[in-house]
């Protein structure tokens, strides 16, 4: 399996001498092509910081992040935006759709800022919308559609440029359970049939159970790694819950 993302001994500190908070404390892992990986952990475990570092919004204190062979920690500030634009797709908890544009235009926006020829934009948008089942609401504004549709639009926007890696930050956080499972099915479909590489951050065990591999963080370190293997989603969900229970207990229970 081709490697898309590799993290080597990432560290991220906040504060100054004598009062250092280690948000990320030496994390290393790899993500292969077409993988669907979940990052789990309680609040303050460092999962959002990790995502911010990978997405180049934040810088690391030490270590290297390679995306498709390029060390993103070495990229100059000026070129970061372009790099993000070409290689990364984002799905956020609060959708981050532009309220001034229709769903279709929101998806098209991702293409136009990547300088896709104007004549091809509509075709790509239509194609992606059909795959994600939002083709009939493309001309509506975000406030006119449901949360699930909004989030699927956000997925389409992230996918339409075919980025190396899709970063999803609590994608189901603002959705009801039905919409959430529909969205997760969508993400799975994107991963399985379109071969998208997805890195999803969540604190919710049910959401995480859709991933194929899960890294559980605690206090800035990788606490454990779960692989779904041949298990069904429900069994995997059970295993995640077990780990969660352990996380909630005393550290000595685990060691």
């Amino acid at each position: 399996m081709k490697e898309v993302l590799r993290l080597e001994h990432i560290q991220k500190y906040y504060g100054n001498k004598g009062n250092i908070t280690k948000a990320i404390d030496d994390i290393s892992f790899q993500v292969g092509k077409s993988e669907f990986i979940g990052i789990m952990g309680a609040s303050g475990s460092g999962k959002t910081t990790l995502l911010n570092c990978i997405s180049t919004i934040d810088t690391v204190s030490a270590g290297h992040i390679y995306l498709d062979g390029t060390d993103v920690t070495e990229i100059k500030e000026k070129k970061l935006a372009g790099f993000r634009r070409k290689n990364l797709g984002f799905i956020f908890q609060d959708f981050n759709l532009l309220d001034t544009l229709t769903l279709g235009e929101n998806i098209a926006m991702a293409l136009t800022i990547n300088h896709v020829p104007a004549g091809e934009v509509e075709g790509h948008v239509q194609e992606m919308a059909e795959k994600l089942n939002i083709a009939d609401v493309l001309s509506k504004f975000p406030y006119q559609v449901s949360g699930g549709q909004k989030q699927r639009c956000a997925c389409a926007r992230a996918m339409v440029t075919h980025p190396q890696l899709i970063l999803a930050d609590e994608p189901t956080g603002a959705l009801d359970s039905h919409s959430a499972s529909m969205l997760l099915e969508t993400l799975r479909g994107m991963n399985e049939s379109m071969g998208a590489t997805i890195l999803m951050v969540t604190h919710d065990a049910f959401t995480a159970s859709y991933a194929k591999r899960i890294l559980v963080l605690k206090d800035g370190r990788i606490f454990t790694e779960l692989r779904r293997g041949q298990d069904g989603r429900k069994q995997f969900f059970g295993r995640i819950l077990d780990v969660m229970a352990m996380l909630g207990g005393d550290l000595s229970d685990v060691r």
């Binding site: 634009r85 981050n96 532009l98 001034t100 926006m109 136009t112 104007a118």
Partner: protein
């Protein structure tokens, strides 16, 4: 604790509403500066022949009335602040603070901000008043001398007025806060201006326009009988016909739209009306021009109503353009994928369209106000130059006495006075007469005595000796005539074409004492005052003395130059006495006598010109800065919303340079659309205004001098616009950066 909270909030608000505070400071400064000259402590050296009382009364009233416009701005900004802070108030109320306390705290906060502006404004006003003094002294033709003072009565008046304004605005705010339910407070920031497409504003405006068109058609029809008058030129007929047909066409278009019920799309109606309003405006604009060119007996009422129609059409033009802006952008966007999908243009269009959807009403009002403001600005130099120039040509002698024979029907009752009482009065006042010219004006032919139709008054004649004496008094060159020659003296208002035509037609003149020939180059334009000419004429014949001796003298004038200026009070007294000496019964068919003194003319006219100049400038500035403040605040107050949108863009991978470019583009559009609409409309209005008074401009100001002044004013306007734009841009960028 409360005091601390108030001060901290005020400090934060000053940052948010910097533009508003600066505008307020500017307005306080101007208010103080203009009022300072009405202070009882203000004693500039403008000479005995002037009286400042006229300025004082007029100024106080004008400035205060104009400043009331500021109330709207204060109220608008307060409401804006209120809406943005409602959530905070809700939180305070839920924590247990009484709504009354919350309201009072908000009031105290705005008051602190206002008082800050007031203090800064008065300090700036003291500096600015020096400029006003310079402006005043130059109006009266005196040198500027620096005199630094802070007038207690003006300070008191300024503080009183503005505190009253703040209190009034505060009172409404307190009432609003106390009456709002917590749940509505929580939701307040979600409310926006209503969607203009759905509101009844534009249909209301169109309805008003329809009513005006109906009145236009009616007015046109009532004047239609002129159309059948064969004496009028084709242009006049076209004008009468156009003023019926053009508005009728617009009404017809509306009717057709109404009847096609299936496709009754309101935007379509606005699109149809747009091209149709140009002929309406064109024909309405022709009325005053044709009236003065062809002496149409339409009367001032009709002319003024057509000017009103024209203003109405212009106002509708602004509203229509802004209303249609949205559909034009949509059309442009939909036209081709190239327009739509070019880099971040989708985002740009989205920003503009969402704003246009909700902000159209404000934008229309701002455009209209800006158009008024720019027109006022540009009109000031023309009007001031006109009146000053007119005054210079009018008040050319210290005392002018003249008579009019227009009510005299018997030759025995024609005047033959020597006005000796004036000589005595001047001696009494110890004013030495330097030059004195008592002369008659003659009718070339006695049979013309009874010509009393408006356009058929005979041109009078003056004898060569009298003419030369007047020239000497005015320092003009004297002229000479051969035995059987005559010359012409023109009033400066007469145009070159009129002069040429008259000269062509009057190469020879038949008089009761024989025929005269026009001397070579015998057409003069000495500045001899305006009381020399017969009613409705701009020219006078200069005849050899021998001829005049045999003609009928109809008017008797006396022009006096004194060694020192006549004091203002003495001049007023002389005028009153003169009224007594030469008072004639209105009913009586005898000569009318008039007196003009330079002091009275200069003082009253200069005073009222100054009031006009100062108040128009002040009004224009107040309107302009109010508009820009609102434009700017509209953008800045939504910075959190914009911050989110630009934040999304950044997350999508758009670099900051391009985001900055987008910000500039958006601000340029938001400032540019109302400014452009206002500039186009006021440019049309001003071109029209300048052409309609082109004769006066040539006579009293000079086109080059006027152009120079207008250019100076325009450059000031551009600078102001750029300043407000730049300030908004910097603050906007800062606030969206901070929300990334």
């Amino acid at each position: 604790m409360y005091a601390k909270l108030i001060l901290r909030n005020a400090r934060r608000s000053v940052k948010d509403y910097l533009v508003y505070v600066i505008t307020l400071t500017l307005c306080v400064a101007m208010f103080y500066a203009f009022l300072s000259i009405t202070s009882s402590f203000y004693k500039p050296d403008i000479g005995v022949e002037f009286d400042l009382a006229i300025v004082n009364g007029g100024m106080k009233l004008a400035i205060t009335a104009i400043t009331l416009l500021l109330l709207f701005l204060i109220q608008y900004v307060n409401q804006y602040m209120l809406r943005r802070r409602m959530k905070e108030f809700a939180l305070q109320t839920m924590m247990g603070m009484e709504q009354r306390t919350t309201a009072c705290m908000f009031f105290a906060e705005t008051l602190v901000m206002g008082l800050f502006a007031l203090a800064a404004g008065i300090a700036a006003g003291a500096v600015l008043s020096q400029f006003i003094t310079a402006m005043l002294l130059s109006s009266y033709g005196k040198e500027y001398v620096f005199s630094w003072t802070l007038f207690p009565d003006t300070v008191l008046l300024t503080v009183g007025f503005f505190v009253l304004c703040f209190a009034l605005a505060g009172f409404f705010n307190v009432r609003t806060i106390r009456r709002t339910k917590i749940i509505d407070m929580l939701r307040a920031d979600r409310e926006n201006e209503e969607n203009f497409r759905k509101s009844r504003w534009m249909p209301g405006i169109v309805l008003l326009y329809l009513l005006m068109l109906c009145v236009m058609v009616y007015t046109g029809v009532t004047k239609a009988y002129y159309y059948y008058d064969v004496r009028y030129a084709f242009v006049v007929k076209l004008m009468f016909l156009g003023n019926i047909l053009a508005p009728a066409l617009s009404i017809l278009l509306m009717a057709v739209w109404w009847l096609k019920r299936k496709h009754r799309d309101f935007i379509r109606l606005c699109q149809i009306l747009f091209p149709a309003l140009f002929p309406v405006a064109f024909f309405a604009a022709m009325v005053p021009g044709c009236q003065s060119a062809y002496y149409l007996p339409l009367g001032d009422g009709t002319r003024n109503s057509y000017m009103m129609f024209l203003t109405g059409v212009m106002a509708f033009l602004i509203c229509d353009v802004i209303y249609l802006a949205n559909s034009v952008i949509t059309g442009w966007k939909e036209k081709s994928a190239e327009h739509r999908y070019h880099e971040e243009s989708l985002f740009f269009y989205g920003q503009i369209q969402s704003k246009l959807k909700t902000g159209t009403k404000t934008m229309m009002l701002i455009s209209l106000t800006l158009a008024v403001s720019v027109s006022l600005f540009v009109m000031v130099p023309a009007l001031v130059g006109w009146s000053m120039g007119f005054l210079k040509q009018r008040a050319v002698y210290d005392v002018q006495v003249f008579s009019s024979y227009s009510q005299v029907y018997e030759k025995e009752k024609l005047p033959s006075e020597n006005y000796e009482e004036i000589t005595e009065y001047l001696a009494e006042c110890e004013l030495r007469i330097v030059e004195d010219c008592l002369f008659s004006l003659y009718l070339p032919r006695e049979e013309e005595f009874h010509n009393r139709y408006k356009y058929d008054f005979p041109v009078l004649a003056i004898s060569l000796t009298d003419y030369n004496q007047l020239c000497r008094m005015r320092g003009e060159e004297e002229i000479a005539l051969a035995e059987n020659e005559f010359a012409l003296q023109w009033q400066s208002i007469a145009t070159g074409e009129v002069e040429e035509e008259f000269v062509r037609e009057h190469q020879r003149v038949m008089t009761d004492a024989g025929e005269l020939v026009l001397a070579e180059d015998g057409s003069y334009r000495a500045l001899l005052g305006e009381t020399l000419y017969n009613s409705y004429t701009d020219v006078i014949y200069i005849f050899p003395d021998r001829i005049c001796g045999n003609l009928l003298a109809v008017n008797r004038n006396r022009y006096i130059l004194t060694a020192s200026p006549v004091a203002y009070d003495a001049a007023i007294k002389l005028e009153e006495l003169f009224q007594k000496w030469y008072m004639t019964d209105r009913e009586e068919k005898s000569a009318r006598y008039y007196i003009r003194t330079r002091s009275e003319q200069m003082s009253s006219t200069t005073g009222s010109i100054f009031v006009m100049k100062a108040s128009m400038t002040y009004a224009a500035v107040v309107l302009l800065v109010s508009c820009f403040t609102i434009l700017s605040l509209q953008q800045l107050s939504q910075a959190d919303q914009f911050g989110y949108r630009f934040g999304v863009l950044k997350k999508l991978g758009v670099d900051e340079e391009r985001i900055d470019r987008l910000v500039v583009k958006q601000l340029v559009f938001w400032f540019g659309l109302p400014v452009l609409a206002a500039v186009v409309v006021s440019a049309i209005a001003m071109i029209y205004f300048f052409t309609s008074i082109s004769a006066q401009i040539d006579a009293y100001i000079g086109a080059a001098a006027l152009a120079e002044q207008v250019a100076a004013i325009l450059s000031i306007l551009v600078t102001l616009t750029v300043c407000y734009f730049a300030a908004t841009w910097v603050l906007f960028r800062r606030s969206i950066r901070s929300s990334f």
